[in-house]
């Protein structure tokens, strides 16, 4: 084998390994998740600083939400099936919590910032609950926050129509008042279960 071929081969192997590592880093794997009485927890560090725009057009960062529990989930308004169900679930969690719900801020972060401008988000989220906050931003800002929450999302085009859909991971994240992700909930977790978990954390 020529020396240059060998170097090329080694570089290719390194590249493939690096891409595989990146792909693994980008999403939460089942192995990373364990279930305990306080919901699903993960050893993977998630969350942190972000810079986004809320549905009223104001710039917001993670600091705006410190001091309250935060329920974070990712979605997009073009999605007619799953996202409305998830939003309705979050509204039900707030109902279940009753007065305790004032200590919880629900946030939907769009993974479709191209279409989900603040006014679009605003009218959409208020269909579900007047306390839900919608966040959008530039494509770069959304990519950054999605990476921090290990959210996978991808635009999907279909030859059949001119519109596009998005594939995306569907966790709901519970963030504590200090800004740390403390629990995950899978799509379909009953709202009463989410509310119970939040109550347990509140009691500490």
């Amino acid at each position: 084998m020529k020396k240059s071929t060998r170097i090329g081969l080694i570089l290719a192997i390194i590249l493939v390994a690096a891409l595989a590592a990146l792909a693994e880093w980008l999403v939460i794997r089942d192995d990373d998740i364990t279930k305990n009485p306080n919901g699903l927890i993960t050893s993977v560090k998630m969350g942190g600083a972000f810079n986004l725009i809320d549905h009223k057009g104001n710039t917001v960062t993670e600091k705006n939400f410190l001091g309250n529990y935060v329920l974070v989930f990712f979605g997009y308004t073009f999605c007619p099936d799953v996202c409305p169900t998830a939003l309705a679930d979050v509204a039900l969690v707030l109902d279940e919590l009753g007065r305790d719900s004032m200590a919880v801020t629900p946030i939907m972060i769009t993974i479709d910032p191209k279409r989900d401008k603040p006014d679009v988000l605003s009218e959409y989220i208020t269909l579900f609950h007047d306390r839900i906050i919608g966040l959008t931003g530039t494509e770069k800002q959304i990519k950054e926050v999605a990476e921090k929450y290990r959210v996978f999302y991808r635009r999907v085009d279909d030859q059949e129509y001119s519109f596009y859909l998005m594939d995306h991971t569907s966790f709901i994240y519970l963030v504590d008042p200090k800004g740390t992700v403390i629990s995950l909930f899978r799509y379909g977790t009953p709202p009463s279960e989410i509310a119970d978990t939040i109550r347990k954390h509140m009691k500490g």
């Binding site: 007619p80 799953v82 409305p84 208020t126 995306h168």
Partner: protein, 173 residues
């Protein structure tokens, strides 16, 4: 006077029941409880769910749907690939096996209205023409429920019924 009131009650009942007919018959197929979800004015997509009972001895397929309310209607399935949600077009139609019922419901197979022409409001109906491989075609009218409704049989959501304002801050339009 009394007769007049009675008559108007009967008329209201009649109009109401005809407006929200929940069963549509097409040959051996019975399409029940079609329903949809309210949208915002910016939303470009809507959804229709229903149940299809095939009481015949031959498998049928829902192969196509069209509606005056949107540019395009597609048959979609929500698939969970690990924790990633994917929407997939159902290329060969929705199979309705003989002597069985198939339900299109949230988080599963659904009819998607793409490129909504106008906002869908709670209480209105959405006309959709369904095309079946064997039974032919028929127009159904889906009743629009709240944006986050689980449908006519939904137990979880308060203020589920059209016209019933919930305390959830659901906006009445």
């Amino acid at each position: 006077m009394f007769l007049k009131i009675l008559f108007s009650f009967i008329m209201i009942a009649f109009i109401h029941s005809s407006a929200v007919a929940s069963e549509f018959q097409l040959g051996n197929l019975t399409i029940s409880d079609p329903w949809s979800r309210a949208t915002s004015s910016h939303q470009m997509s809507g959804v229709v769910y229903l149940r299809i009972l095939n009481s015949g001895n031959q498998t049928d397929r829902l192969i196509k749907a069209v509606s005056i309310h949107s540019e395009k209607v597609t048959l979609h399935d929500m698939i969970l690939d690990g924790d990633i949600m994917k929407m997939q077009s159902i290329k060969n139609g929705v199979e309705i096996p003989a002597n069985s019922e198939v339900e299109l419901k949230p988080g599963a197979k659904h009819i998607m209205l793409m490129g909504l022409k106008r906002r869908l409001d709670r209480g209105q109906t959405v006309s959709v023409t369904l095309h079946f491989q064997h039974a032919g075609m028929t127009e159904i009218k889906a009743l629009v429920f709240d944006a986050g409704s689980r449908g006519p049989k939904g137990k979880n959501l308060k203020g589920n019924m059209p016209g019933n304002n919930s305390k959830n801050g659901h906006k009445s339009h």
